[in-house]
Symmetry: C2
Subunit: 188 residues, 2 copies
Amino acid sequence: MGRWKPDARGRLTLGALELFAERGYEQTTAAEIAERAGVTERTFFRHFPDKREVLFMGSKHLQDVVVAAIMAAPDTMGPLDVVGVAMESAAALLEEDRPFARQRWAVIAANPSLQERELLKLSTLGAAVAEALRMRGVAELPASLAAETGVTIFKISFELWVGDNESASFTEGIRDALAQLRGLTAGA
Amino acid sequence: MGRWKPDARGRLTLGALELFAERGYEQTTAAEIAERAGVTERTFFRHFPDKREVLFMGSKHLQDVVVAAIMAAPDTMGPLDVVGVAMESAAALLEEDRPFARQRWAVIAANPSLQERELLKLSTLGAAVAEALRMRGVAELPASLAAETGVTIFKISFELWVGDNESASFTEGIRDALAQLRGLTAGA
């Protein structure tokens, strides 16, 4: 979802984020988002089932990118390295539009019900990663552990990246977090 | 919260779990829970703000136990070992009443909105663990990584423990999962 795309979907996304920031998420209606984007309410509902999904419809694409990266990884690669590479793919996708990622995160951070939704999406991502690892022949428990660890690293690196540090790269953050985790588990 | 306790709170908890299982969570009211427990609706609301909190009020105590275990761990222990020991304390607490843990989990597993709530509680636990580690002098990023890894291990071991295996111990599951994670990060 490009931030400055001239298409209706892009304008609706941008308009929604503006209104959520100006008025608050709860106080914003689909009709107002449509008006801000210069389209009809009907057009809004052709693109999104409700205002919440403006924030979450990208999750499915992100998950597809992650699963595809897992399936494409060399057979010789260990589960945690596979997950690291897959999470870098996800990070690269979000890096395409950091302003969008930041604005979206600010709205979610201000609304507990949206935080719960975000956590459920991350949990769903973890389950998809575990399933993809099992399809590569990784056993049940290590698949779950590697998958959840990958989601942890994604989540922590994401929060650093959307935070204050202008120069940080999300993909480098993923690599750094995984390296630090290896240090921790080795007892460093 | 013991399952067979004769006090009003214990009876309300038991009654709620029975009704959630029989009728479904959404279809059960606080008044019906009170009736099943043989108390007035007013008594229900003296113990719980709403029916959802029958399932989640234990989370705060669990978090207190985990944080206390972190603060009590020897200074020489590394962050991930500290978190492992703390998660074993949490597991030992839940092991005191496995039937309750199972029934509670079955209700949550059947309701997406309760799953979101459970994930938020786990996320809150992770933040409390990270904060406790920082108070022990662990740096920002390793504290977050160790905390989230601890929650991951807790979550995965919990799901195995409430599952089919009658004989498994939750505390042993925590130790086993942490050992397997160390194997994974070492590239095994």
